[in-house]
Structure formats: C-alpha cells, structure tokens
Subunit: 347 residues, 2 copies
C-alpha cells in the first residue's frame, strides 16, 4: 500500500526545514526538491537532508515574496537561504524550476509565507499552468484562502491536482481530532479549539507564524501585519507582556469542518495563547467537541496535546501524513480541493 | 463525493439494531437489508427502520448460531427476531439471501456473535463463494480474528471485497484516536487504551458483549465463555460486585496499530472497567499515546470520551463511518483487509 512518494518543499523557513527533517522519520517519503526565492535544490534520488539543513541553518529567510516567488522583495547580504547548500543553485524563478521537474514529484508542500491572501492560490495557478499533475499541500490557517482555492477546484480537477489545504496543526491536526471526537454524536453543537504555544527559543524560526497570528488581533489585519517591522512586532509583544491571547480567530477550522459535514462553521470557535517569552506552553492545546448521542445524551469529548509537544512537532507530523494521504487519493484519481477532515474516514 | 451507499446488517441484536437507528442520522446511507437466523428483510428502496425496530423490540436474539448462520441452535418460542417485522419473512438461510441480493448492496455490517473465532471469517467465505463484491465490516475485538481474515486477503482481492475489521468503539474508534494522537511523535513508545462501560439498563441488549468480555478474564476463554449459562454469567458478575476489571485484553487494537505502522503491537495495552449495575461509567474512557517528538521531547497526548457517551454511541457512529470509508475505498478499487487505522489518513 505504501508505495514511495517523492516530494518537494517550497520555502525553507521553519516549516519547510522541519518538514525535511521530520520526513526522515516517516516511511515511504523521499524529499527530492527544496527551494526558496534564492535558489533551488533538486535530486530525484533524494536530497541529502543533513547537508541541506546544516548548510542553511542561520540562513532562514522569513521575508516576503510578493511576485509569485521569483524575485526577492528584500535582499539580505547574509541570507542566501537554500543556496548556502552545496546541493542548491541560485535561480531567478525557483518555483518554476520545481514545476518544470513536476513529472518526477508526487507532492509539493507549500511552506511559503502568505501575507497576501492569494499568494498560495496564485502559486497553485502556476502549477496548473505548468502542467503539474500531483498533490499540493498547504499549512495555511485562514478561512478565506479556502474559498479562493475552491474557485480553482475545476482547474485542479482538469489538471489532475489534489490540493490538500490547511494540513498543519490547526486546522489540520486539530480539525482531524474534532472530526474523530464527533463520532460519538449524531448532532454536533460546538467545536472549541484552544491552543497554547510557547515560542521563546523558536521565535526566530517562526517569525512568520507570529506575524500571521498578530493579524488576528483587534486593530490588525493581514495587510497591516505584513507591513510591521520586527521592532513594531516586538512592541506589540511588549504591550501584551509576552503573552498574547487570541479569540474568535479567522481560522479555516470552521469552514473545513462544515465542508466535511461535521457541524456548521458558526459552531466552531478557535482561540489560544501565544507566549513568546517562554518555551512552556501557557495553556494546554485542547479540542472539545460537544454533541448529542443517538440516545439523547449531551456530552463533550476532548483531545489534548501534551504541553511538551511543540507547535513545530504538531505541524509537521500531520502535514506529512496528510501529504501521504493526498498522494494516495491522487493515485486513485481523486482531484480537487480537500480539507484535512475530508481525508479522515468519512464519518 | 458522498454518493449514496446501500447497506445490509447481519444480526439484529443490540449492535445491528442500533446501526439501523444511527444510520438515519448519517447522510448518504440507505439500509436495504437486515437478517438474523430467523429471517430476512430486504427492500432496495430502503427499509422502514421505525417499523423494524418497533416490531423487533423485545425480540432480540442474543443466542449463538454455529452453522454459518442458517439454522437455529436454540429455539425460543417468543423470540422470532427480525421475523416479527412485517417487512421480514422467515428463512432457513437468511445470510444466503443477503448474499444473493449482493449486487444491490454496497456494504454489509456483520453484527453477528463470534464465540467461535472463525465464525465471522467463515461468513466472509460465504460472501466470497457467493460472488459478492463490496464492503464487509465487522466490529470484532479479538486479535486472532484479524489473522484469519488476513489469510483470506487474496480471496477478498480476487472477489473485489474490501473487508474492514474491528470498526466499533474498540478497536475502531479508539485506535483511530491513537493513530491521530501519535502524529506529534516520530516514535511511539506506548499506547494505553482504557475504557469504562456502565451497562445497567443496556445489559439485556448487550449480553453478547458481556459474554465476550468475560472470555478475557483469567480462567476463561472464548469457548468456556460461550458455554456459560445466563445464571453462571450472573454469578461471575456477583463475584465481582458488579464491576469487572479487565487488564491486558486480547484486543485487536495492538495488531491493528502495528499493521498501520503506528507502533509495535507489544507496546499497546487495553483494559477497562465494566459495571453492569450502573449506567454511570466506572471510569473515563481514555486513549493515551506516549512518544518522542522530532525535537526530542517525550510526551503523552490524550483522547477522552465523555462519561455521558454510551458504549452503544461509541460503537455505532464509528462503525458506520468506517463503513462509508470502506465503500469509498472499494469504489476506488482497493480490496483486501483493512483495519480502521488504515482508513485514517496515512500518518
């Protein structure tokens, strides 16, 4: 059943790098390509992940590409990204190089920043235009991106693309848990997703995530968060004494659970606590699903992640799992847009 | 995606009846046949579940068939089983009638007693011999049955049968939860499945389950438990003051988690508390998965079912979910034997 899957990673920031690292622990996955806006590394026999991670450490590029991934918006003298690896070479359009190699790549994880809502969808368009036929996976959080991808569902189907959206910790992992926890019930009343993240030592690697989270705060949106300098982000963190609480986040969990028929989107709430001054989680990540059983009892099932599991661990394991499942669906001829919950058993 | 699935239920004891009831709450499922050893009801437009459940209430037949399902081993003057429904008719070989109608039945839930290890496998043989091509689902618990089904995997593949085994609360629901909870980890050390069941008012409906559980106690096995009279079972319950503790049960959870690559079978433990004198659960059903994350942290993720969710709710929801998933796999041409965990995303 587990035939080997070759995959590429677009973006070599925190998520991209860890995806490569975690893939070494998974059976049947071969990383064959990685790129950022500086360059690309491709080896169909499998990348040397150790070399690539070691060479690019400290070269993480968290800045924003706004032109579809080709040219750099900001240049860093020191930050050469993936090109620091001896397996990589510089490229003016590294994403196109991945697309051109697409016949040899079963799945592509899009670990790109998404400060512009339509950045990931536009990258997907390039894969469609380039004749790619395989799996695309993103780990995005925002509800509105799903809609943009849905508009492209026919194009994906025609191209033979299976797009798996929101396959990280949340929505991915936690909506999967919600779908599972819902199985005691014939009606689901409420899904409450509450996360805790301690991000002291991981802060540098995950600046993009923090920036995206800040966009959820009152007074900010995706555009204003994108334009914040590192100093301004630091000031926001200071204002909150290092611990920022989020309520009613525009996370795609709601849309994805509704798509899969688990409950109405409006019955899903997502929030959490981010502590950027401690590696301890400020609260325990918990999924609570309240519903009524066939025999009329109202009850709440819960799924909890141990505080010792990092956000990083909870993003990358599920992302690769959903990637593998996407590859299976793709081989079975199932194309279009799939949320993680739709890749769970069809409860 | 959710094209309609027609299904049959073999056995109209507690699980079979509730499967029919719960299916009314699920989209895309049409019950078209039900049988027990007394007779069979078939309607390809969909059974009248209300009538069938009302007519057969109090007619539940928990006794044992040992000949493949045809003739009755024990006769009950009052207990006519499904024949009490006006949709049903008596039959000398009701299972064969379902097989003969198999072209119109996408999936069959085997809610039959299994005091003989090979009863379910032998029923499956009859479906193979009868040219059935579709989904077979059982809600069995015992590890050794999986091996017997595996011996038939080639026959199922040749026949076009997708056999989903152990799709109830445990293994099904709880192994699915374990597979999900494992996603934080690159190595899983231990899976602990601990259940609580309060079965006072549900005792009559679930005598078969209690009998199967007793077979797990020291001093009993599947054969000796089968031969116990109701009075002897009552005496065992009295000996334990109504609350029976089970440790290291031979539940298929271990085999199924190993099959799916989650952990070694020996690292899985299953136990629980059964209270037949109270509807309150004597302990909270909890799945604990301990592993190490990619970044070297040892941690335990947990999944808990609210005490207010009955065993019945936790068997039948998942069973129908896995049945639907099995039908999808079957349509995609995936045949053979599948554990519930293998129907989860391929983490």
């Amino acid at each position: 059943m587990d035939t080997d899957i070759s995959f590429a990673v677009l973006g070599t920031g925190g998520i991209g790098r860890r995806t490569l690292e975690v893939s070494r622990h998974k059976d049947g996955l071969t990383p064959v390509a990685a790129c950022d806006r500086h360059g690309v590394a491709i080896d169909f026999d499998g990348l040397d992940v150790d070399e690539l991670l070691a060479a690019t450490e400290g070269n993480i590029d968290n800045e924003v590409a706004t032109d579809g991934g080709g040219a750099a918006v900001k240049q860093h003298g020191e930050s050469r990204g993936v090109v620091a690896s001896e397996q990589a070479r510089a490229s003016d359009d590294s994403i196109q190089e991945i697309i051109d190699a697409g016949a040899e790549i079963d799945a592509v994880l899009l670990a790109l920043p998404n400060y512009e809502h339509d950045f990931i969808p536009r990258v997907a368009d390039r894969f469609v235009d380039g004749g790619y036929s395989g799996v695309l996976v993103d780990v995005l959080k925002r509800s509105r991106v799903i809609g943009m991808l849905d508009e492209r569902a026919d194009a994906f189907e025609d191209a033979g693309i299976t797009f798996v959206c929101g396959a990280g910790a949340t929505p991915g992992f936690l909506t999967g848990a919600a779908a599972l926890a819902a199985q005691s019930f014939v009606e689901v009343h409420e899904v409450d997703i509450w996360w805790g993240v301690g991000l002291k030592s991981g802060y540098e690697d995950n600046r993009g995530t923090v920036r995206e989270d800040i966009a959820h705060l009152d007074g900010y949106d995706i555009e204003t968060a994108r334009d914040l300098s590192d100093e301004e982000i630091g000031a926001i963190v200071d204002d909150h004494d290092g611990v920022i609480e989020f309520r009613d986040m525009e996370h795609a969990d709601d849309v994805l659970l509704e798509r899969a028929g688990i409950c109405d989107a409006e019955d899903v709430s997502v929030g959490g606590l981010l502590d950027v001054r401690s590696d301890e989680k400020p609260t325990t990540t918990t999924v609570s699903v309240t519903g009524t059983t066939f025999d009329g009892e109202r009850a709440t099932n819960t799924f909890q992640l141990d505080d010792a599991t990092s956000m990083e661990a909870n993003v990358n394991g599920p992302a690769l799992g959903y990637l593998k499942t996407g590859a299976r669906r793709n081989r079975a001829g199932e194309y279009g847009v799939f949320g993680p919950v739709e890749l769970m058993p069809t409860f």
